[in-house]
């Protein structure tokens, strides 16, 4: 890892210090509605109070379950669909407009549809995770599938490989970078939409804890939870990025 130049590090430290100082000044200035901007010490207290709550870890577990379950289903379905659409070019071209239309739309608006089907419990958040994560995986895998060398496919056919053998011996190894790249995007989107779903309509999970704190005007706790959620989401993203770069 390259070390940052001293000037760049100085700029970063100064920027962070100035930002925190400006925030603290604004928090104590009474310019905003009382409690809207809690001082940094109060936010730290909010974080501490949340992480020692007995139900914090249960809710963290529920959010983790929703993300992992949704992401796993999305990966399995997305890779399969991507292989099919990439191998069948005409089918892929016909279905592409529909995939592109849904892929570029804000997935949170489909939460009411998912809730009508499966209710408002954790399964609806799993559904949101599937819906968010599947598209980058399908698009990435289908695009890479079209680029697989025809020579590899011809060699497999001369050995009369079955479709399953083609998938396991030829397609999946060739598609690994695309699968990992799609999974990287998909996992980030899964985390985001699960949390948004819990915030919008839920009675469990970290997102629910956050909006519950907001509804009861426990603002330092709300800031603390947002800080924890944001940090966890960024850490997950960094870890996936490192895994993805090792796969190249």
């Amino acid at each position: 890892m390259m070390r940052k130049a001293p000037a760049a590090l100085r700029i970063q430290v100064i920027t962070l210090a100035v930002a925190l100082a400006v925030y603290e000044l604004l928090a104590r200035s009474h310019l905003f509605y009382s409690g809207a901007l809690p001082p940094l010490f109060d936010i730290a207290g909010g974080v501490a109070r949340e992480v020692v709550r007995p139900d914090f870890y249960a809710n963290l577990g529920i959010t983790a379950y929703e993300v992992v379950a949704g992401f796993t289903i999305a990966t399995a379905c997305g890779v399969t669909l991507g292989i099919v659409l990439g191998a069948q070019r005409t089918l892929g071209a016909i279905v592409a407009p529909f995939i592109d239309a849904v892929a570029t739309s804000p997935k949170i608006i489909y939460l009411p549809v998912i809730m009508l089907v499966v209710g408002t419990g954790p399964i609806s958040k799993v559904g949101m995770a599937v819906l968010s994560a599947i598209f980058p995986i399908v698009i990435s895998v289908a695009a890479e599938m079209r680029e697989i060398s025809p020579t590899l496919i011809d060699v497999a056919r001369t050995f009369r490989c079955s479709p399953m053998q083609m998938a396991m011996k030829i397609y999946l190894p060739a598609l690994r970078p695309a699968i990992v790249g799609g999974m990287r995007l998909g996992l980030g989107l899964s985390v985001l939409t699960v949390l948004l779903g819990e915030i919008k309509i839920g009675d469990k999970g970290l997102g629910y804890l956050t909006i519950d704190a907001y509804n009861h005007y426990r603002i330092p706790e709300m800031y603390g939870l947002l800080l924890l959620i944001f940090t966890m989401a960024v850490v997950v993203n960094i870890l996936i990025g490192r895994v993805a770069s090792r796969q190249r």
Binding site: I11, Q12, T15, P97, T104, P106, I109, M222, F230
Partner: protein, 247 residues
């Protein structure tokens, strides 16, 4: 071949609509969960007649425009600063890269507390998500402007403002457009998402309200309108990008 696949896509859509209509009418799919296409179309006309679509449509569009303008102008200026000051680029590019993949929309309760349930909250949040990709691409665009062009400007003793307007901006435009394209898409997606989350504003709020009122057919009509809007934006941006490339 392209026209054949387009015609096949349209045919697939028509067949899908017909099958869904038959499934709902026969009771195979409960109408309380999925509305029949004919009901969705009727609800769409009712919403349009009541003025419940046109107003929210323009509210969403207005917020997208405001967020894109604010995010793009600030992003272009910040990207230009990074391209001309290496120390700032070394300091801030990694932060921008991290922020690009960060779930900023999750912070909406924070903005609600500070700015309240208002257009300001929606526009500021969408502006931030627009600013980040525009700033990154603007840095790449301005950093790639050939030094010889800048030297020509210096030889004519042009003021920095004129160098920016007459040399740097035109030279950077093709790459800049990639960032603007991303920025507009992010603005649209985030405006609608935040409207839905905070029950305020235009089309996103309509979806939330209609679900709460259990007006299922109208809810699907609103979702379909958002799909059409997203697709239309993407098509318009692709068309503009192709025109810019052909020049």
């Amino acid at each position: 071949m392209r026209y054949r696949t387009s015609a096949a896509s349209v045919a697939l859509f028509v067949v899908g609509v017909a099958l869904l209509e038959a499934a709902v009418r026969s009771g195979l799919v409960p109408s309380a969960i999925v509305a029949a296409p004919s009901q969705i179309f009727a609800a769409f006309r009712e919403l349009q007649g009541d003025g419940q679509l046109v107003g929210p449509f323009f509210i969403t569009l207005g917020q997208v425009f405001a967020a894109t303008l604010a995010g793009s102008v600030s992003g272009i200026l910040f990207g230009h600063l990074l391209a001309r000051r290496a120390a700032f680029a070394n300091a801030y590019l990694s932060w921008l890269g991290g922020a690009f993949s960060a779930p900023i929309v999750l912070l909406y309760p924070l903005f609600l507390v500070i700015f309240g349930r208002s257009y300001v909250t929606v526009i500021i949040m969408a502006s931030i998500t627009t600013f980040i990709p525009v700033a990154i691409k603007a840095y790449e665009a301005f950093a790639a402007v050939p030094r010889v062009l800048l030297a020509v400007g210096e030889s004519f003793n042009l003021e920095p403002g004129k160098v920016f307007r007459m040399i740097e901006l035109p030279a950077a435009l093709p790459r800049l457009f990639i960032g603007l394209r991303l920025g507009i898409i992010y603005a649209l997606v985030n405006v609608i998402a935040i409207e839905y989350l905070i029950d305020f504003g235009g089309l996103g709020r309509i979806v939330s309200d209609l679900y709460a009122a259990f007006n299922i057919a109208a809810m699907y009509a609103a979702i379909f309108l958002i799909l059409i809007l997203s697709g239309a934006f993407l098509a318009a941006l692709d068309f503009t990008q192709r025109r810019l490339r052909s020049r």
